[in-house]
């Protein structure tokens, strides 16, 4: 009898483990559909709340950020719109809708500038930005598997063709490893921010008594290079850098 109950409990736990993600996804999906409907009925504030709730629940999806960006744009909140378009672009790097809306939103700002500092290595590893991290990983796993299969095949057939194939796959494997590493570093260590106030002063140091180097306006995208107390050091694509209060930046 005891064993029968034990088996039943194990069965229930397994069913729970299997069905839990599906249930969560179903809830998210319902929420997103509702938010989409509200958006189409011009109830942008309510739609934004639901999108934000789904994201806070742990869902990472480029289309979701894109829709949230559109919602903030309609609400007139340009910085939040741009920030969400950037997040969407990170997950959907080749999506033309995201690119078009981000470009359009940036054009609505005073500075009309995407000040994000380009990743230095993108000049060499030009494909890094065209793939998201997951795609990089899938390619890395695929090439890694192909390389070790080629190694195994070469045990049986030590011909010039298998030698060339193995070496080519090795070269691709190194490239995939390096580019995945860079993309991971870019996603986890490169912080992007958007200017929130209408206009901010950017100082030469982390104090308002230091010299004002330049001014930026609402919605301008910047790279955050370091932080100190309640100040961020920001960098622009044209090498300009300076300090501003954290409260001026959404990121």
């Amino acid at each position: 009898m005891t064993n029968r109950y034990l088996h039943f409990k194990v069965f229930v736990v397994w069913v729970g483990i299997i069905l839990l993600p599906a249930t969560t996804w179903s809830q998210d999906s319902t929420g997103i559909s509702q938010a989409n409907r509200l958006y189409n009925q011009n109830q942008f504030r309510e739609a934004a709340e639901i999108y934000e709730r789904v994201i806070a629940g742990g869902m990472e999806n480029g289309h979701l950020y894109y829709n949230l960006g559109n919602t903030y744009f309609r609400m007139g909140n340009l910085p939040r719109a741009i920030l969400n378009y950037v997040k969407a672009q990170n997950l959907l790097p080749r999506n033309e809708d995201v690119e078009a809306n981000l470009e359009y939103a940036v054009r609505q700002t005073v500075d009309q500038m995407d000040g994000r500092k380009p990743y230095a290595l993108e000049a060499i590893f030009f494909w890094i930005g065209d793939l998201n991290l997951n795609e990089h990983r899938i390619i890395l796993f695929g090439i890694n598997l192909a390389f070790w299969i080629a190694m195994a095949v070469r045990l049986h057939h030590q011909t010039p063709a298998t030698y060339t194939a193995r070496n080519i796959l090795l070269a691709f494997l190194v490239l995939a490893l390096v580019s995945t590493g860079f993309r991971w570093h870019q996603d986890t260590h490169q912080s992007i921010g958007v200017i929130l106030p209408q206009q901010i002063d950017v100082y030469s140091g982390w104090s308002p008594t230091t010299v004002v180097l330049f001014q930026l306006h609402q919605g301008t995208l910047v790279s955050i290079s370091q932080e100190k107390e309640n100040w961020y050091e920001i960098e622009l694509s044209d090498q300009k850098k300076g300090w501003t209060l954290k409260s001026n930046i959404a990121g």
Binding site: W25, D28, Y39, N61, N144, W148, S207, V211
Partner: protein
Amino acid sequence: MIKTGKSRSLRSRQAFAYTTGVFLWLPAFLILAMGTAWPADIQVTASVDKQELTLEDSVNFSIVVEGTQSAPPPELPLLDSFKVRNRGSSSSFQIINGDRSSSTTYNFTLLPKETGTFTIGPATVNIGGKKHRTAPITLVVKEATAVSDTSREIFAEMVVSNKKPYVQEQITATLRIYRRVEIRNLKTDIEFPGFREEALEGPVQNTRIINGLRYLSYEIPTALFPLRPGKVDIPASLVEFDQVDRSRGGRPSDPFDPFGQGSIFNNFGRLQHKILRTKSITLDIQSLPRKNRPENFSNLVGDFTISAQLSRTEVEVGDTTTLTVTVAGQGNVNDLSLPSPQWGDNFKVYQDQSEYRPTTGARTVSGEKIYTYALVPLKTGRLQVPAIPLNYFNPTKGDYVSIQTQALPLSVSPGKGDSKLKIVESGSDTTGNRGDPIQKIGEDILPIHTGPEVFESQNFATGSGMLYGIGLLLPAVLFLVYSGIYKRQHRLKYDIAFSRSHGAYKQALKKLHALSPNSDPREIARELSLIVREYLGNILNLQGTAITSTEVEEKLMKGNFSVEEIQATQKLLEKYETLQYAPTTGNPPEELIQDAGNLLDQLEKQS
């Protein structure tokens, strides 16, 4: 007391330990002490290196925070009459006679903007929630000593091309720095309030002879467009630099070396920071005359031409042709806002965004502004694209000028079937050139994504780093395992010695177990001898089973078997030989089989 060798050794060890302890703990103590601040001991003072200065001087303003090395930057007082340059901070820590002291110094350079007596209010430093203030300091700023420019080794002047320009007339303001000495780290601070600025080609370097002296001039031109009539001041510009003083050694250098660094041997010399200030200039900006001012005048001042061109002169009804209107010339062409032409009711017109193409020179700003219109004829026949007028003020003539394009003929034929109006169309002209661009009427964001299939989570954080590591390493591990198995199989197939030794033990044991203890002992001895010899032949890769005891010894010695095992093997083999030919064995068969099994076990362990 007699000092023994042992006690001396102990003392020296103690002294060593003490010294080592001091050297180990002292830096740690210093590091701890450096970061410690005692709010009660904190003092904040401000000082200047001089209290009287001229407009061509700067004053070093220092704020010293004593009692801590980790003070936040001070909040400076309002310094409207000075330009403030931050020169960084420095920290120090000292221990003198056991008293430790630490301090942080923040350095600023103040550049006066005007003459007068000024009080630098208290600077504030907030440490641990308590605000520490410095005492106020008084500074007296006087005019610079009147020295004739031409007797100086270095001087600067601001020159404008016209001191009585019209509003929006382009003038050129040039900052000229003349020098007969070597300078470095040149910085300028130029402001033109009340003007729109455009950069000109430059800076330009020349040599000029002034009062018989040869100067190297460095000229920074800026195009200015006055924004309002009346008296407008161009304030004094600041020129900062470091003058190289080689009187204290080093080789004399050529002041006309454009970079001031002629050769690597000339880099020695003392740098002396200096400031020059140009005189402010007052301009009398004139209003544009009211007399003869055209109705649709749009503040265009300069000298201009206007031209128009159609991309296609023969079209069908509903087709599009592009009218390109170009206004070119010298002046504020970028400010032009071309009034909308009178199109009549012959066309539907869509205007594109205008484009400005500057062609900036060293003294003047010129360029062209291009307007494009997509014209869709609404009627057939020979139509006229109306002339487009342009009015501007020519400051040289002091009067307004009206010019216009020529009216352009356009032949419009009826459509070949579909004569519906094509509001927005991309086509190509008869010459095969690039067609009219699609005219953009409005812009908006693209709609939201709604397909349920796109909303699956793309969360990359679900897998841990270890999982990704395992995923990457698994194929390598599988390969290594497979490679090991493959190589073993390959060796078994092609390496006879390895193949024989690999199965030797199992084969021998199998045969050993197949022996019946009830058989004839002599027969058992013969079988056992055969099994052991066969086993030895397999592990030593020997042909046949007729191995002598001496051969066994020799081969086993080469196989690194121990002497005990070799002797045991020899002894057992000799025993089997004896038993085969003895009338009676005396040994139970089970014991013989057991002995053989034990020997095989020991040999296998060592093989």
